[in-house]
């Protein structure tokens, strides 16, 4: 119970394509993150699944049944709003019981379920409070419990933790994940916070300008970004462009534009122009010298972050970063020469050229 299928879902507003042929399959019980910058269409997609937005074309299936024509109130979803949208004229108990009450369930059943929910989100004794008498974290928990009250087949979360401050947010991430695991409910959530997406999701879809850029498990996307956008949006990336020379011994040899040579385990046909991405923490400060996967330049400036020092170096006209662990060893300073090296396994060939 609770799979969601999107097939070529498209929605335009005037000249802008808010959703452009979005195709996604979300499995039962999955915790699925929609990640992207503001205006990328992730909220529109969530609202389309909820039923507030009717797609111009494409299909939305829940448990295999098309639902594009099913009104919001009969989709059997739980939706948690960004600012919670707790009814200000009702107390916590009435907010939690709303979904069952509009379904004309018996009073005793509603009361029992409300008690259960209050326990689930650890708010026993708060039932008679009005929403404005609760803290931000408590409101967030009520909103979650309200969305879960009717045991919906899909839980939709719109920037679920966006309104909380940093410490509370981390605490709630753990709690949210726990509750989702416990109930095994299919959950789709929207966020612009990459860390939140990495922490919570089983899988992530990165969205950009109405399209899905890449789908995968957090680790897979992070380690193997498919595009320049994905590489830059989720974490930081150093980009290099060059021409594939040959493939030998399980390695692809790429001649960069400045003449230096790098290798990668990824495959590409000789003669192709490619863009490579290497994460800053996958680059090490190395002894000076020639050889593949060694890039030399001058440190332009250094940023001290405590656990690490980020060294910036101009290379091929782009700024690249190297994370050097602050392990007490000597590190080059601004103006000094730097040689950075990386393992061929950590260089990823992207599918699109760097801009």
């Amino acid at each position: 119970m609770g799979s969601v299928d999107l097939q070529s879902v498209t929605k335009t507003y005037g000249a802008t394509r808010a959703l452009d042929e979005v195709t996604l399959t979300i499995a039962e019980g999955e915790f699925f993150g929609l990640l992207g910058p503001s205006g990328c269409g992730k909220t529109t997609l969530l609202r389309a699944i909820a039923g507030f937005v009717t797609p111009d074309s494409g299909r939305i299936l829940m448990d295999g049944q098309p639902v594009e024509r099913v009104p919001v109130n009969r989709r059997d979803i739980g939706l948690m709003f960004q600012n919670y949208a707790l009814f200000p004229h009702l107390n916590v108990r009435e907010n939690l019981g709303f979904g069952l009450s509009v379904r004309h369930r018996p009073k005793a059943e509603i009361a029992a379920r409300v008690e259960e929910l209050l326990r689930l989100v650890r708010l026993e004794g708060f039932g008679e409070r009005k929403p404005r008498e609760l803290s931000g974290g408590q409101q967030q928990r009520v909103a979650l419990a309200r969305a879960l009250a009717t045991n919906p087949r899909v839980l939709l979360l719109d920037e679920p933790l966006g309104a909380l401050d940093k410490n509370l947010r981390e605490e709630m991430q753990i709690e949210l994940k726990q509750i989702q695991r416990e109930l095994g409910i299919t959950t789709i959530f929207v966020t612009h916070d990459q860390e939140e997406a990495l922490t919570l999701s089983d899988r992530i879809a990165i969205m950009r300008a109405g399209r899905v850029e890449q789908i995968g498990a957090p680790r897979a996307i992070y380690e193997r970004p498919a595009t320049v956008f994905a590489a830059n949006f989720l974490g930081a990336a150093n980009l290099f462009t060059g021409m594939v020379e040959a493939r030998e011994g399980g390695l692809t040899r790429v001649r960069l534009e400045d003449g230096s040579l790098v290798t990668t385990r990824d495959e590409a046909a000789p003669g192709r122009q490619v863009t490579l991405a290497v994460r800053p923490e996958k680059m090490q400060v190395a002894a000076p010298g020639e050889g593949p996967n060694r890039l030399s330049g001058t440190v332009s400036h250094e940023v001290f972050t405590g656990t690490a020092v980020i060294l910036r170096m101009d290379f091929q006209g782009r700024a690249i970063s190297v994370f050097a662990q602050n392990d007490g060893g000597p590190l080059p300073r601004a103006g000094e020469a730097l040689t950075a090296a990386f393992d061929p396994a950590n260089a990823v060939i992207l599918t699109d050229p760097a801009g």
């Binding site: 039923g51 507030f52 009717t54 009104p71 919001v72």
Partner: protein
């Protein structure tokens, strides 16, 4: 979530009844009035023919032109008086009085405006005379006091109408003054402006929408007033408003009354068209 047809049906059912009502009680009557203004006689009392005579009457007969001018002057005088007394009061409310007091004071100022205008006008008849409570009390404590008797005169009309519209002017000016960020004053001061320059170059321009809104919402109804001049003005009561009223309640020349009404309406629309873009948001904000 809903189909277009269902949506349109919902809009129609929600807005339809009210707009039918407005159509039948405001828009069609205004159209009928326009039609009547071009008729020789009312269709209720004879066979009408098309004529421009009533409009010609307005522009050729001295009595109408003179009194239209008097109504304009009355509107102008009352508007200026309201602004002169109301703007400083609005400023005091927006900048000197704070918090709960401000809310209470504001309510006190606006309260009379939304109470019965007829009764308020009537109440002045007991004040603007030597034989009222104040007049008698004054002469009792100061036998040689000058007379305060101004009943049945133009100044009495001015006092009554200023009293009637002052609250609205205070309210509109207050709303725009209150919307001016106080740090703008500080910024202007820090840039070397004197208090006078701060007022003329920062406060006044920014509060202009409120001033214009207040002026319009005073000028227009004052031009159409007839009850206040009748009660307070005595022989000075004749205005365009009272002339129009007269056509409907005494002379029973409805087509002429309609034409005079439309001349006044034309002047109102001209004013509205001139200032509407400046005050639209403001009017809606104040009314709310």
């Amino acid at each position: 979530m809903t189909t277009t047809a269902a949506r349109n049906r919902a809009i129609l059912w929600l807005a339809g009844p009210a707009y039918l009502w407005l159509l039948a009680t405001v828009l069609l009557p205004l159209a009928a009035m326009l039609y009547f203004s071009f008729l020789t006689v009312s269709p209720l009392s004879g066979t009408p023919e098309f004529t421009l005579a009533h409009y010609r009457t307005f522009f050729t007969q001295e009595v109408y032109l003179v009194n239209a001018g008097r109504s304009m002057m009355l509107g102008l005088h009352v508007t200026l008086l309201c602004l002169a007394f109301g703007y400083p009061a609005a400023w005091v409310l927006a900048r000197v009085i704070k918090n709960r007091w401000r809310e209470a004071m504001l309510l006190l100022v606006v309260l009379p405006f939304w109470s019965n205008g007829l009764v308020r006008t009537f109440s002045w008849t007991m004040v603007l005379t030597d034989y009222g409570l104040i007049g008698r009390a004054l002469h009792a404590v100061w036998p040689g006091a000058p007379s305060i008797e101004i009943m049945n005169s133009y100044p009495a009309i001015l006092v009554g109408l200023t009293h009637a519209y002052l609250p609205y002017v205070v309210l509109t000016c207050y709303v725009s003054l209150q919307g001016i960020n106080p740090s703008l004053t500080e910024a202007a001061r820090s840039l070397g402006a004197s208090w006078g320059q701060v007022f003329l170059r920062v406060i006044l321009p920014l509060s202009l929408p409120g001033i214009i809104a207040g002026a319009m919402l005073t000028f227009v109804p004052v031009m159409g007033s007839f009850m206040e001049p009748r009660i307070l003005g005595g022989t000075q009561a004749i205005m365009l408003g009272t002339l129009i009223e007269n056509q409907f309640t005494a002379a029973f020349n409805w087509p002429l009354g309609a034409a005079l009404g439309f001349v006044m309406l034309g002047a109102v629309f001209l004013l509205m068209a001139l200032f509407w873009p400046l005050i639209r948001r403001h009017v809606q904000g104040v009314a709310a």
